[in-house]
Amino acid sequence: MHRRRTPLGFLTAYVPEELFHAAGFEPVFIFHAPEEYGKGRAHLPGFVCWVVMSALDQALAGALDRLGALALAKTCDATQGLADLWRRNVPQIPLFHFGMPSRLEGPAVKAYLMAELRDLRDRVEAFTGCPIAEHALWDSIAYYNRLRATVRAAYARVAEYAPSAFYAALRDLLRSHRPALPGPSPLPNAPRLILVGPALGDPVLFEVVEQVGARIVGDLFDLGERYFEADAAENGDPLEAIAERLGALTPTPTKYHAAHSRAARLLEMVRERNADGVIFARQKFCEPHGFDYVRLACALDRAGVPHLMLELEQASQAGQLRTRVEAFVEMIRGV
């Protein structure tokens, strides 16, 4: 018997999708929309990033009413505020808040994370009225591991794809679970770039990279390569397997792990992939990526790796981005 799954929207890069999947939901990521419904600004100050503003705007406009619930993990202050606003203003879509720790190492973290996962499981079960069977959790873990293996295989050849097609396929996967990667279209001798930013950047960004004849060889987007880099174990305790995976991922800038440095990971990627440069694509008003940029840029400077900072807004202008990316790529090419 195949039951139709209820879509569960999620925000942030630390939601334990497997747990919701095992409870009968289909987790789908809520990306910021290019269009504005004009509902969000009455509830949020103007100095909040478009990612958060757009999520609320879409919800208030009824554009997310197909969702059975929304889940978000503790990451940045804006998302935390969104959780509060959501509860009061979007009652038709119940919210699950997952208290992902901000620290990913230390003796107390694991016990807390496990307790928080159990607490979340209890809340989800109370909501659906149905206990989550252990075998369902294992099935969902295996399902997500397979999905991640597909994505990793695609990432292994990311440089061969047209950037906009590759990232459009990744967005579709996070929204619909259907991997639909187009055929590769190699572009020999194209400048090789690594992109860094929140969520999955912005589609306009990939179009611009493509237009200037560059290729993307890796990324440090919150929902990009790092999100798929580790699997959950398929034995032992299922919640523990989920917890271990969340802790093993390269941290996003909202998380602290003394020994798991994003700068080191970025430099390693630059070397491994033979990258020519790094583009930071930060959403305006995003604090975690704003601070993080300086640390990563310093590390790149020390290693002699060129980089460029772009600021994305609600209506990022392809023209403006293109001028800057073009100049950057020309510099890399030594034109």
Binding site: A42, H43, L44, P45, G46, F47, V48, K74, T75, C76, D77, A78, Q80, G81, L82, D84, L85, R87, R88, N89, H97, G99, P101, S102, R103, G106, P107, A108, V109, A111, Y112, A115, E116, D119, P253, T254, Y256, A258, R282, K284, F285, E287, P288, G290, F291, D292, Y293, V294, R295, A297, C298, M309, E311
Partner: protein, 398 residues
């Protein structure tokens, strides 16, 4: 300013704070120095004889002295985007360029203790400091308090980290935590908090003997000297002076006509100047959400659970409905006629739900609410003309 009576104790507090910075810069050569966030469990460090310094307080100082913009520009030229927290940009600017900073910057830290109960910004700020100074960083992770009281696993997590913090501090400084000393420190902290609660409660009198900008000056010891005898002494004097004002019927704003509630961090570069048009119209800010953040009482008998509860339950770490209840209670208890909210570009946790709070205050209490967008220390974001106009219109509406 002669129209408005001055509180002598504020002069004393300002002197204490001046001495605090001078003394700490001298003592920094003899004792280990830790930078701490404003919501950190400072009692533990205090009891271990570790000198604490507050970059946030220093950021406010930079703002008040008009030095913040220059220091923010130092950070911005190092790559920090101009829309990041201005305390962080000011202080990082001072760390990178101490020569142009007030007091030539803070003394170098030996350790960094960052507690995430006030925002996520401090995590990034302290990571940056750990790189600038190449010193060890302890992150005390405090989860968001979804329910009141918080869930037991949250309290256990914070409490466990407090033990870890002690071991970490001992390992890095060679100093031991003596239980007796901790008890004494907690006792002082408790006493200071309780005096601070009493001081804030004076705003309930008509006329109120104290105005929000007075509290913004008076709050420095509850932040930076919590757990010391000095803070207790400062507040005993202030309390006595306020008692005397009440006995003699002296208000902070003579001829008090309106009683207002302030929300968010102060606008440090215009501390009294901002409030002047309100005062001239007979409006006194009798209560505020900012200085109220340091009123969480500490439990001395169960120090670790007590600290875990107190530091998890800080105002800004609470869910919106609990915060709303606190604000409503303040509005009722202090019998306010209106509310002014500072939409502070630097502080998302404080500002992000303000429209929601405004609607609730209007709907449930029928109060007029003014939201003004500005910044706590970056005066480039202060549009005086527009703000004066809106203040005048608001005062007229009262």
């Amino acid at each position: 300013m002669s129209r408005y009576p001055r509180l002598q104790s504020l002069q004393e507090i300002s002197e204490v704070m001046k001495r605090y910075y001078v003394q700490r810069s001298i003592m920094a050569r003899l004792r280990p120095v830790a930078y701490v966030t404003s919501g950190a469990p400072v009692e533990i460090l205090e009891a271990m004889g570790i000198l604490t310094l507050y970059p946030e307080n220093y950021g406010a100082l930079c703002g008040a002295q008009g030095a913040a913009v220059g220091l923010c520009q130092v950070s911005e030229s190092a790559g920090y985007p101009a829309d990041l927290c201005s305390y962080a940009r000011s202080h990082l600017g001072a760390a990178m360029s101490p020569k142009q900073a007030p007091l030539h910057g803070l003394p170098r830290p030996d350790l960094l203790v960052c507690c995430t109960n006030i925002c996520g910004t401090v995590l990034k700020w302290y990571e940056a400091l750990a790189e600038v100074y190449r010193v060890p960083l302890f992150v005390l992770d405090v989860p968001f308090q979804r329910t009141t009281p918080p869930e037991p696993h949250i309290v256990a997590y914070v409490s466990e980290q407090l033990h870890e913090l002690i071991a970490w501090l001992q390992a890095h400084t060679g100093r031991r935590l003596k239980q007796e000393r901790l008890r004494q420190t907690l006792q002082y902290a408790r006493e200071a908090v309780s005096l601070w609660q009493e001081i804030l409660a004076f705003g309930q009198h008509r006329p109120s003997p104290i105005n929000a900008p007075d509290l913004f000056v008076a709050m420095a010891p509850i932040v930076t000297l919590r757990g010391t005898r000095k803070a207790v002494e400062c507040y005993r004097h202030l309390k006595a002076e306020l008692e005397e004002r009440v006995a003699r019927g002296i208000g902070a704003v003579p001829g008090e006509r309106y009683r207002l509630l302030w929300d968010n961090i102060a606008i440090w570069y215009r501390l009294y100047r901002f409030f002047r048009p309100f005062m001239d119209a007979g409006a006194c800010f009798v209560a505020d959400t900012y200085t109220n953040a340091w009123t969480v009482a500490l439990e001395v008998d169960e120090p670790f659970t007590g600290m875990a509860l107190a530091y998890t339950g800080v105002f800004i770490n609470l869910d919106l409905s609990t915060r709303l209840q606190t604000i409503m209670k303040l509005a009722r208890r202090f019998q306010v006629d209106g509310v002014v909210m500072h939409a502070n570009r630097s502080c998302k946790p404080f500002s992000i739900t303000q429209y929601e709070v405004r609607e609730a205050l209007r709907a449930e209490l029928g109060l007029p609410v003014l939201i003004l967008e500005a910044d706590m220390t970056d005066s480039r974001l202060y549009n005086d003309g527009a703000i004066q106009e809106r203040i005048a219109a608001f005062l007229e509406s009262l």
